[in-house]
Symmetry: C2
Subunit: 249 residues, 2 copies
């Protein structure tokens, strides 16, 4: 049974300011919740009997376990088709390291929750363990983002930071890549094993303040014959860019 | 002013069976409608004064032009934030050619409208002019798909067909590619300039009937260290695959 207060509390976590105040975020669905539990203890779990039955170990967690009916879960959920479980997890407190090791992503104002979620999933696939987000980037612990990561949010470190300040703090020879319409063909450019790949906002691309700090300007060439100029979705551009860096390992 | 009948008619076009019966689909927003008008004449256009003012040539089209208020457009629209115009276009009647030239895509049961829209946009970017869709694939003239293509639906031929039958009709040495968990590393395999790239359903991948007809089994390798098996969204996998084929041109 869910109490009225629990219900209210979870609805408040849809808002960033309450997530920050409480240090908690909402994760839903068997895959996402199971993946997160491999890394961190949930604070509260609202689950159907179907979910709890096959996870007896769950009762050893320190968090509170509340058994709910399908109907209660539906009212609690932020999704159209809730799947067995909704849980509250602590927002990880990861600090930016002075020099990122290997390859990392940096997002300069990505706005769409689906895009951010997909980018986190891409990072996970390509073994990129850290994503630096500008303060203007949509919050990664927004329920829609968490959902779109399909569990990958459990495996990728997300750090919100003042991006220009962070870029200035890097060693001056640390490679910083970005994609631009007037960059060099990504398919033929040398790409390093370590560095930062910056992806910009959906409408405006990379901001001026960040652009000035990019050391390697790349272009993803299009192959369509003549006609109207086109664009790639930022998550698609991220996938193509990460694929190019990784295939050369 | 929109009449009650026009309103009803447009709502019906949300359903595939009415789209097929009428041979029409709904396109919305300045970019998508403008892109489509470069290729085909609209049957009906519902547009705000703001839209019509800067497009005097529009009044030369054979279709009916209806000036609407922002409020009328909002009621008419399938989108959350309608943008100046909604128009009805004829569904193009494109037949499958015996032997596709160059590179084409084939979709075996892609279900999500957003994924199909994004795949059409990717095809446009990579100069792939035809997509063959199995009958189980979500309808490309669904308003949500049209929206997600961001105008690319105007430039890519979409053909619904019985996929196994179509594959059997191809010359026996025509290269048919598919991605599988046990395929060969796409980054190091030779890839031809012409061929068909098959992408499967979101949950189940490529169906058995289609799988048997694949001549080249590819794998997109993941790079994440140990742990849980992961997956790529079908649109992301399409982007990486098309990028690999095209970069070698």
């Amino acid at each position: 049974m869910i109490s009225k207060n629990q219900f209210k509390y979870i609805r408040l976590l849809e808002q960033k300011k309450y997530r920050r105040r409480e240090g908690l975020f909402v994760a839903e669905g068997t895959k996402t919740v199971d993946d997160l539990m491999q890394r961190t203890q949930p604070r509260m779990v609202f689950a159907t009997e179907e979910y709890l039955q096959v996870r007896p170990h769950l009762f050893k967690t320190e968090g509170e376990i509340v058994k709910v009916t399908d109907d209660e879960l539906r009212r609690l959920s932020f999704q159209q088709h809730p799947q067995q479980v909704l849980a509250l997890f602590p927002i990880p407190d990861v600090k930016a390291s002075k020099t990122p090791s290997g390859l990392s992503l940096a997002l300069d104002g990505v706005q769409d929750p689906g895009n951010l979620g997909t980018i986190i999933r891409i990072a996970d696939w390509f073994g990129i363990d850290t994503i630096y987000c500008s303060e203007e980037t949509v919050d990664a612990w927004n329920p829609k983002v968490v959902q779109a990561t399909m569990g990958s949010i459990a495996r990728v470190n997300i750090i919100y930071t003042d991006l220009p300040v962070f870029l200035d703090s890097l060693p001056h020879d640390f490679p910083v890549y970005g994609t631009f319409l007037d960059g060099e063909n990504i398919y033929t450019q040398p790409l390093s094993r370590e560095g930062l790949i910056i992806m910009g906002n959906e409408g405006n691309g990379i901001s001026d303040d960040v652009r000035r700090r990019v050391s390697h300007r790349l272009l993803i060439p299009d192959f369509h014959q003549g006609g109207t100029a086109d664009s790639l979705n930022v998550a698609i551009a991220t996938a193509i860019t990460c694929s190019e860096f990784r295939r050369r390992l």
